[in-house]
């Protein structure tokens, strides 16, 4: 059973960017909570406020109003950062340093004793699949390799919380799989992971809970399992019937073939209505099954209409 202590907590968090013609409300009254041991996916369309929120949690930005706390301490405080590993969206490290030197720098900042740094770096280099390239300058690294360095520095020191911004950006499928394994391993040890990603398939594979944000506000916050369950739909293939007019709400005609029609009903009420209509029309049901919905379907359903 998971400990319900909040690792991340925001209360009415607002961040307003001033300086342009009009102030930009990047985050407005955001309330979110991430408990210990959870893996939470933080999703939303571009410009929703995900990176701004993460920057506040890391102390790069300061709240205009409201509150953000990490491990009970003010977000961005030394106490919070001591237990947090962070992977930024864009991997930028000193191009003139080698991978080893880069990790050694971060190890020193993490107060890892010098005697343990060598072992720790060697282990990390192997974990992220950079063995053999660790003594080359980072300017020779590809974007994917730099992201691996980023993962290495994020998990260095075995933090209790990992915050990842656009976690799989720039990673090839192999690297993505490796990262997934790292995060699952973190999760199995009771660590907390909070990450934003546009790769909803990764969110589906990793997360316990999903927070959907748009225009700086939380739209939905649900355990992933329940969310996906709510996205299950009924697929019915019938013969001997015509397309009902009007079609019930949340029912779509997927396929119209030779004397057969395939309907998809998204919601429970739509399923009931559809079956009723088909029965009344004397349709003969050839096939009927429940189909799993995807997070992408959910995402598009909730925010897709706003993107034009």
């Amino acid at each position: 059973m998971r400990n319900s202590n909040a690792v991340i907590e925001t209360n009415d968090l607002s961040v307003v960017y001033k300086g342009g013609r009009k102030p930009v409300h990047a985050v407005s009254g955001l309330d979110l909570r991430v408990n210990e041991g959870e893996v939470v996916g933080f999703i939303g369309p571009n410009g929703a406020g995900k990176t701004t929120t993460i920057k506040v949690l890391m102390g790069f930005l300061f709240p205009t109003s409201g509150d953000a706390r990490v491990f009970g301490a003010t977000a961005g405080s030394l106490a919070a950062r001591r237990r947090t590993g962070f992977l930024p969206e864009v991997a930028v490290y000193y191009p003139f340093l080698t991978a080893r030197e880069t990790l050694a720098l971060y190890a020193t900042l993490l107060e890892i004793p010098s005697s343990e740094q060598e072992k720790s770096i060697a282990r990390l280099v192997e974990t992220v699949g950079l063995s053999g390239r660790d003594r080359e300058p980072l300017r020779t690294f590809s974007r994917g390799m730099l992201q691996r360095i980023g993962i290495a520095q994020a998990i260095m020191g075995d933090p209790d919380l990992l915050i990842l911004d656009e976690v799989t950006s720039g990673l090839d499928p192999v690297a993505r799989r490796d990262l997934r394994q790292i995060l699952l391993e973190f999760k199995s040890r009771g660590k907390t992971v909070f990450f934003s990603s546009h790769e909803l398939s990764e969110v589906t594979l990793l997360c316990d809970r999903v927070i959907l944000i748009d225009e700086g506000k939380v739209l939905e916050e649900r355990p992933l399992r329940k969310l996906l369950e709510s996205m299950r739909r009924l697929v019915v293939t019938v013969t001997g019937a015509t397309v009902p007019d009007p079609l019930p709400e949340d029912v779509t005609l997927r396929n119209a073939g030779e004397n057969r029609l395939t309907f998809v009903a998204e919601t429970q009420s739509a399923q009931t209505q559809l079956l009723q209509q088909l029965e009344n029309a004397g349709a003969h049901i050839l096939e009927m099954f429940q189909e799993s919905g995807s997070l992408e379907d959910y995402f598009v359903k909730v925010v897709g209409h706003k993107v034009t």
């Binding site: 920057k55 890391m58 102390g59 790069f60 930005l61 300061f62 030394l78 950062r81 001591r82 947090t84 590993g85 962070f86 930024p88 864009v90 930028v92 490290y93 000193y94 003139f96 340093l97 030197e101 050694a104 720098l105 971060y106 020193t108 900042l109 993490l110 107060e111 300058p137 980023g150 520095q153």
Partner: protein, 259 residues
């Protein structure tokens, strides 16, 4: 070494490594060679009296280029880190922003001091090659120039948090290279000023950082005796105070700066 000091040294080391690996240090060598050649050419005048000339040219080149290198290195540090976002993974670690500022200052000051020392060594070798003697004042000039580098680095780093990279470098170079002219002008016009202009001129004089007071090159050139120890002590204190002021301002600015 305590963990805090280790962090500062780690940041400083990165700054120095960057300068070395970007081959900025090669500029020092090229300039040093140019200095040597220049002095060699002038020695072919074949008239006596060239000793002061060689010392003068050597010290002028040393002062000017060490200031230029210090300003350019310092002006680039923080804006580049912020612009390139290399700052984020660093600040994400348990290091406060003030320590980051101090670590960067340490790195720049080490680079600039090393440049000054290399220049002075090269100059000393040139003077030895031409059998030109120097007094203890030469080494005092070296000491004050190194101290001034710390002072300049702190000021430029602080300024870089308020303006763009290019503006920082331009303003800093203007201040550094024109400071003596400014100080002399105020002394000269002081007699002619009255009222509020006088008070303002005096206030500016007292507040402005007097870099020209770290320049012993004229005394070295013209063979003056070494200066009193209390002057060196006082100028060190002066540099420490001003550096401290710049560090405090810089840290306060960086602490509340949205990144």
């Amino acid at each position: 070494m305590g963990t805090y000091a280790k962090k500062l040294v780690a940041l400083a080391r990165v700054t120095v490594l960057e300068s070395v690996r970007r081959k900025d240090a090669y500029v020092v060598l090229i300039l040093g060679v140019a200095m040597t050649l220049g002095a060699g050419i002038f020695s072919r005048f074949g008239v006596s009296g060239v000793e002061k000339f060689v010392k003068d040219v050597g010290l002028t080149v040393t002062s000017m280029f060490s200031i230029i290198i210090c300003v350019i290195a310092a002006a680039r540090q923080l804006p580049t880190e912020i612009e390139n976002r290399t700052l984020y993974p660093l600040i994400a670690k348990p290091i406060d922003r003030s320590s980051f500022f101090v670590g960067k200052l340490l790195g720049v000051a080490v680079i600039a001091s090393a440049v000054v020392i290399v220049f002075f060594i090269l100059l000393r070798l040139i003077l030895l090659a031409f059998s030109i003697p120097v007094g203890a004042v030469f080494y005092q000039a070296l000491y004050l120039r190194v101290v001034s580098m710390w002072f300049i680095a702190a000021g430029v780093l602080c300024l870089s948090l308020f303006t763009t990279h290019a503006a920082t470098a331009t303003i800093s170079l203007l201040v550094c290279l024109a400071m003596q002219m400014f100080a002399h002008t105020i002394i000269y016009v002081h007699d002619e000023l009255t009222g509020i202009s006088l008070r303002l001129a005096e206030a500016i004089y007292w507040l402005a950082p007097h870099l020209e007071l770290f320049d012993l090159s004229k005394k070295v050139t013209h063979g003056w005796p070494p200066i009193a120890g209390w002057v060196l002590a006082l100028m060190t204190l002066y540099a420490l105070i001003y550096s401290g002021i710049f560090v405090v301002i810089g840290c306060l600015r960086l602490r509340r700066m949205p990144l």
